[in-house]
């Protein structure tokens, strides 16, 4: 469905991606784990051409492009096949919830307004915001904003949705509602490439987990294999740290 090959990206002298290959099959949910600064965000941004990778190629459906030589038209085609959910939600501030969901449908895909409105309503209902159609982003909690952002992505019916730490800007008590929406999106069979540190999501939902460090994939496999018997020392160290913190966080809020 979507594959990237040999993605290289350098910022100045900082080599952030050192030849990353990822293959995601239709309907698959792939979680990317890795320490901060390992290049996860940059990788997703390269796939959506929000950064221009120095090298590598992208295949998505029947589109095949070189990152470096992609034309404006090719970039637009890729973006119209993908959707992205950002860490900081990035809802359009000049549009209310339903307009946020409709924008890509109406303006980019030229779907008639009435039809787009129905789709947007349906998607907002699915994320539990049937009473917030007309709310402005500033009137919504972080969790609600992120749910609108997910509805906005799903409404486009893209070949793949890229999630970049969708819950890490949220207050702990709001993480659950967003994760459960992501789980139901996964159950719909939508292809997802998810950067997250939420171990429960990775464990319960992911078909495959990829561990990245210093701009390269260290290892990948089934969640239960990665979590219970990682092959690489760096993976183990990272998991120990995260799980420890997870426990600590849980203790903290388990009063």
């Amino acid at each position: 469905m979507i594959s990237v090959k040999n993605v290289h990206k350098t910022f100045g002298k900082n080599e952030v991606l050192k030849g990353v290959d990822i293959d995601v099959k239709r309907g698959e949910v792939v979680v990317i784990l890795g320490p901060s600064g390992s290049g996860k965000t940059t990788l997703l941004r390269c796939i959506n051409f929000l950064e221009k990778a120095d090298e590598g190629e992208l295949n998505i459906g029947d589109i095949s492009v070189h990152f470096r030589h992609a034309t404006r038209q090719e970039i637009l085609r890729v973006r119209r096949r993908t959707a992205m959910v950002f860490q900081s939600y990035n809802l359009f501030n000049n549009k209310n919830a339903i307009e946020n969901v409709m924008e890509g449908l109406v303006t980019a895909r030229k779907i008639p307004k009435g039809e787009a409105y129905e789709t947007a309503k349906k998607e907002l209902d699915k994320v539990g915001l049937s009473d917030k159609y007309n709310a402005w982003p500033s009137q919504l909690s972080g969790g609600q904003q992120q749910r609108v952002a997910i509805a906005r992505a799903v409404a486009l019916n893209p070949d793949v949705i890229l999630f970049d730490e969708p819950t890490s800007a949220l207050d702990p008590e709001l993480v659950g509602e967003v994760l459960s929406v992501m789980k139901s999106v996964a159950r719909e069979g939508i292809t997802m490439l998810v950067v997250t540190h939420e171990m429960s999501f990775a464990r319960d939902i992911a078909d495959r987990v990829i561990f990245m460090d210093e701009g390269a994939i260290v290892e990948e496999g089934l969640p239960r294999d990665i979590f219970t018997r990682p092959k690489e020392r760096r993976t183990k160290q990272f998991l120990d740290r995260i799980l420890l913190k997870d426990e600590y966080v849980k203790d903290d809020y388990a009063i």
């Binding site: 973006r79 900081s88 990035n90 303006t107 980019a108 402005w136």
Partner: protein
């Protein structure tokens, strides 16, 4: 010749002068509409550092801000026909009002360009990225996401500019335009009662400024309420 200052004449002249208010408002209207369109283009040239145009925009803006509008108007009035003649376009038969409209539009473009530029830059890059990610093209992103948000930011400064633009029209009479000030001037020449007419224009300017100020403040409150 009677009294030097006759308050009764204020009442008598008021309708005559007020009848020229549409001319003043017409100048303001085209100054702001033309200025906004050109100002947006200037702002874009500057933001995207378009070769040559960026430099031209910087020069134009500092020229306009650094010279009195009266001089700008004379330059347009005497210079524009020569310039266009060079391109084979003859505007020597243009109504004087057209030259005034062009001058004020150019003048306001310079001021609005800076207002628009900083408002556009104040919209976070993440808004554009979200728009691109749902498949909007660069120009769709600009028109549908960036510009509306920038306009909101710019609104107070924009309102102040409209009021300034109105007060700036007070020089249009030097080209013989019969706006409210031109009319006051004409009455003064005819009747030797100059001050009364100017008092009328002062009152019109004050009332119009206050009206505009309150209208803008009202719109602002309504928009911020969401």
């Amino acid at each position: 010749m009677g009294k030097l200052f006759d308050p009764a004449l204020i009442i008598e002249y008021a309708p005559l002068i007020l009848s020229r208010l549409p001319v003043t408002l017409l100048i303001v209207f085209w100054a702001i509409v033309g200025g906004s369109v050109l100002g947006t283009l200037l702002a874009l040239a500057r933001i995207h550092k378009v070769p040559f145009l960026n430099g031209a925009a910087v020069f134009f803006i500092s020229f306009v801000r650094g010279t009195p509008i009266l001089i700008q108007m004379f330059i347009v009035y005497y210079g524009l026909p020569l310039l266009l003649m060079y391109f084979g376009i003859n505007i020597t038969r243009w109504a004087k009002l057209n030259f005034v409209l062009v001058s004020y539009a150019l003048n306001n473009a310079a001021f609005l360009a800076e207002i628009i530029r900083s408002a556009i830059l104040s919209v976070p890059a993440s808004q554009s990225e979200a728009a691109w990610s749902v498949g909007l093209s660069a120009s769709q992103t600009f028109r549908r996401i960036i510009l509306p948000q920038a306009f909101r930011t710019a609104f107070p400064a924009f309102g102040a500019r409209v009021i300034n633009a109105m007060q700036d029209t007070a020089l249009a009479f030097t080209l013989g335009i019969l706006d409210i000030l031109g009319q006051a001037q004409a009455i003064g020449i005819r009747t030797y009662h100059t001050l009364e007419g100017y008092v009328v224009t002062a009152i019109i300017f004050i009332v119009a400024s206050l009206l505009m100020e309150h209208t803008f403040a009202f719109i602002e409150r309504r928009r911020l309420a969401r």
